[in-house]
């Protein structure tokens, strides 16, 4: 997908600045990379040099009492999570380990990659998105200048909230070198309740009822038949202190009496949640399929999934129905899939697809003209020379 086989591996900010400025002078383009699991997202055959951020892997500052951690952008997600776990803390947005999700070797995902893509996991419904935990950063913009924004405390409104803008910016505005994230205490107790073989409409309705109840649901997902085993599973997760979780589990079982919720043991629970979306990849033999991540209002989840079934696609739903991962046949065009997502009030990101299909449509859902123009002006503000991989999602702007 890229032309340079040897990525730049800057050891410090000064080297990174030199690389960016040289690229600017030489009219070449740069693609920033963490673990590399998301390199397949975007148009193929772009002319870019890779910058690997793996040397920016330090834990720079972590004081558990402050609920804040500052790390190098290249720090491994697994290493950060292990450190936090030692102090009974976590990244509450439950970062999506994308490498694991698409069946690549586990463990290479970096924090910078998580932030660059902005993919939160199942706990999004209760704990917020990646952007809700991103407090500050240091970066080198496309201008070759180092700059900071945000802060290192949990509450801050000083200046524009550029840290949020960086989440999901795919390295197209600036190359993050350090970032400060909010962390939270890990729940003492986690219980997963499972309803087996609900009808699809009942499953989505149950998730929404649970999410809107007073039971403080941490996550709710639906795995159709074949994802985990021969049953469909509608999962609701409760977290917190023991007595509270028990009381809420009882209340939820009563609220969703007809769903006959059963408690899942810890191992099965972990396996079930990590099957989102990995369960879709279990029979990855069919190379002519396309993997999509579709974000919609949760109340449209059942409708979207019914359409996907008719189109011979497989799917699973997270975020109480507000996030659908789908594997669709390549015969279903990106335009068709996207108009379906739009009819449901949402948008779709193409995560993996056969080469020709990737070349046929941008990976990110196209924006309305006014927003596309505004986005272009924002990108030019950070990267006036267009060196930060501007063709990844759009052909028209470079």
């Amino acid at each position: 997908m890229t032309t340079m086989s040897h990525p730049h591996t800057p050891a410090d900010v000064q080297e990174l600045i030199e690389i960016v400025r040289s690229a600017s002078a030489a009219h070449t383009r740069l693609q920033v990379m963490g673990g590399g699991s998301k390199r397949g997202i975007g148009f193929p055959n772009r002319q870019t040099s890779l910058i690997s951020m793996t040397k920016f892997d330090r834990i720079i500052d972590y004081d558990p009492h402050e609920l804040v951690i500052t790390v190098g952008a290249g720090a491994r997600l697994a290493a950060v999570q292990a450190l936090l776990a030692k102090h009974e803390q976590m990244l509450a947005f439950e970062p999506c380990d994308f490498a694991a999700a698409i069946g690549e070797p586990h463990g290479a995902t970096t924090i910078g990659g998580v932030v660059g893509a902005g993919f939160a996991g199942s706990r999004r419904v209760s704990a917020g998105n990646v952007r809700d935990h991103m407090l500050g950063f240091t970066a080198v913009s496309g201008r070759g200048d180092e700059f900071v924004a945000g802060g290192r405390v949990v509450k801050n409104v000083t200046g524009y909230d550029l840290p949020k803008l960086m989440c999901g910016s795919w390295g197209q505005l600036a190359i993050l070198t350090q970032l400060t994230l909010k962390v939270l205490p890990r729940p003492r107790v986690t219980i997963t309740l499972d309803a087996l073989d609900l009808g699809e409409d009942d499953a989505f309705a149950a998730m929404i009822r649970a999410a809107r109840s007073q039971c403080e649901v941490a996550a709710a997902a639906h795995l159709p038949r074949g994802m985990l085993d021969e049953h469909s599973h509608t999962l609701v997760r409760l977290e917190g202190f023991g007595p509270s979780v028990e009381a809420r589990a009882a209340a939820l079982a009563e609220l969703l009496r007809e769903a006959r919720l059963a408690r899942v043991n810890a191992d099965d629970s972990a396996a079930a949640w990590s099957a989102i979306p990995a369960g879709l990849m279990r029979d990855s033999a069919r190379a002519d399929e396309v993997l999509w991540r579709i974000v919609i209002p949760s109340t449209a989840g059942a409708r979207l999934c019914a359409s996907l079934r008719e189109l011979e696609s497989r799917y699973c739903a997270d975020w109480a129905g507000g996030l659908v991962w789908a594997r669709t046949p390549a015969a279903l065009t990106a335009d068709k899939l996207r108009s379906l997502a739009e009819e449901c009030g949402g948008h779709a990101t193409m995560l993996s697809a056969p080469h020709a299909y990737r070349a046929s449509a941008p990976a990110l859902h196209p924006e309305p003209p006014a927003i596309a123009a505004l986005t272009r002006r924002v990108k030019i503000a950070f990267d006036p020379a267009g060196i930060l991989d501007p063709q990844r999602f759009a052909t028209g702007e470079a």
Partner: protein, 496 residues
């Protein structure tokens, strides 16, 4: 009066009648020019600075806002947007040569979707009105700034307002899913929507908290939360600030994120108690109000844990609310802390820095030293859970030099906040109040990266100029590139 505003543009002032006629053609019944009427708009909640606007326009729909902004953009007229005017940092302070765009007529709740947990509201709706509209169905809107009875959702979006419960439930930015917004050129755009992840760049994330510099919000989609089953407040007194600070740290270390965790120092306790008689202990050096919410089981469990932690930290007074009346009474003193300060001094300045919590005792000691040096008393209230300080500097504006001393004192406090690793403002915004301190926290290069965002939204810098950034840089000047070998790369790209 040490803060300067941009110089008046005599050319615009000379066109005042033509401008007001043009705006009257857009909003026939909503243009105010009479100096007596304009007086009502001369300041916001940051009352130390006052300035009459050139004129006020009060649109009632998005098309009018769009037409007004397009006219002003075409004719080089500055615009200052205003919600309910409760900003504590001067975000809505008028400019003498600018149109003040009041959004008070946008006062309708447009739709509520309980299944999805969202409400679509106009920006002039008050914060509390959203909760009032949905509480019958067991829902509420989480951000609860102290001014919630008066402040508007549009203003909350502009300032990214917080409140005592944002420790657990987040600031405005964490509770807004989408906005309709008018750019300075009159273009109407929608950012975000009603999904849990935006499409494309998170421009909404930048717009929230942009202090009226990027666009005028005309519709807001907020997230509604299910109201907790119950809530309990605890009132805990300590013999020292250090022991109170340690108690806060220990609560967090125990894995507990309370719904709210507030601290008051001795002067603040005494002022509040004299004002509302909340039953606060007067023989303590620091008071914590800690609230937990959720199921009955959750509240009982957490209250017991917190009481045990408080006792381990030498608390001399521990009371747990047993009913709603008592809970509200515990809060009454804290919520009245600002007006209580207003009773013991003719004027006060409310500061808003955030610090790493572990530095609290040191910062309070230094604030006390600064109080002696500037010879002005101070009372401290703060959101202890997230380290957001609100020192209230007491002064008398009628005494020559006191306002300037109070401002110096406040600036010194904020410098201390930044020095210990904190920030200038946790929830009140930069506005004009902290504008000139921005270089304490950011380099020129940092600020240029922020100001180029402004250029992407408002290239002529006509929207709320003179706020947030200490220097106005023309966008062309900010757009300059490092030129290597005499050539700008990619000359085909449009530039400012």
């Amino acid at each position: 009066m040490t803060i300067c505003l941009p110089a008046l543009d005599p050319d615009v002032l000379a066109r005042r009648d033509a401008i007001s006629a043009a705006l009257r053609a857009i909003v026939p019944d909503g243009v105010l020019t009479d100096p007596v009427t304009l007086r009502a708009y001369e300041c916001d909640g940051f009352t130390a600075y006052r300035q009459l606007p050139m004129l006020v326009v009060l649109p009632e729909n998005t098309a009018q806002v769009s037409a007004i902004l397009r006219y002003c953009d075409d004719h080089g007229v500055k615009v200052v947007p205003r919600g309910a005017g409760t900003s504590l940092s001067g975000g809505a302070l008028p400019l003498g040569d600018a149109v003040l765009l009041g959004m008070a007529r946008f006062n309708r709740i447009l739709s509520i979707d309980y299944e999805l947990g969202t409400a679509v509201v106009q920006p002039g709706v008050t914060n509390l009105a959203v909760t009032r509209a949905v509480e019958g169905q067991g829902f509420y809107y989480a951000p609860d700034p102290s001014s919630q009875i008066a402040c508007s959702i549009g203003g909350n979006v502009a300032e990214n307002s917080g409140g005592v419960h944002c420790l657990k439930y987040g600031l405005t930015t964490n509770n807004v899913l989408g906005v309709e917004m008018v750019l300075m050129n009159g273009e109407v755009v929608r950012l975000g929507g009603n999904t849990l992840e935006p499409r494309g760049l998170d421009l909404l994330g930048v717009v929230v908290g942009s202090e009226g510099l990027l666009g005028v919000v005309t519709e807001v989609t907020v997230r509604l939360l299910r109201a907790p089953q119950t809530a309990r407040a605890m009132l805990v007194g300590f013999p020292s600030v250090e022991s109170a600070g340690q108690c806060v740290a220990d609560v967090i270390a125990a894995g507990i994120i309370p719904a709210g965790m507030e601290m008051m120092d001795e002067p603040a306790i005494h002022a509040a108690e004299a004002f509302v008689h909340a039953g606060y202990p007067l023989d303590v050096k620091a008071l914590l109000i800690i609230e937990v919410d959720g199921s009955q089981a959750e509240c009982s469990h957490l209250a017991a844990e917190i009481v045990a932690i408080a006792n381990r930290n030498a608390a001399t007074c521990v009371r747990v609310s047993t009913n709603e009346t008592e809970r509200m009474k515990f809060w009454a003193g804290r919520k009245a802390a600002f007006p209580a300060a207003g009773r013991i001094a003719p004027d006060y300045l409310c500061m808003d820095g955030t610090i790493p919590r572990r530095r609290l005792p040191e910062v309070l000691r230094r604030i006390s030293e600064l109080s002696t040096r500037h010879d002005l008393p101070v009372a401290n209230v703060f959101h202890a859970g997230d380290g957001n300080l609100h020192p209230l500097i007491l002064y008398d504006a009628n005494q020559p030099g006191q306002l300037e001393r109070a401002e110096q004192f406040g600036n010194d406090i904020l410098r201390v906040c930044v020095e210990v690793g904190g920030v200038l403002t946790g929830e009140h915004g930069v506005g004009i109040e902290k504008r000139d301190l921005m270089p304490v926290m950011f380099t020129a290069v940092d600020l240029e990266h922020q100001q180029r965002m402004k250029c992407a939204f408002d290239p002529q810098l006509l929207l709320n100029p003179g706020k947030v950034f200490p220097q106005l840089h023309r966008c062309a000047e900010l757009g300059r590139m490092h030129v290597h070998g005499g050539a700008v790369p990619h000359p085909e790209l449009p530039r400012f």
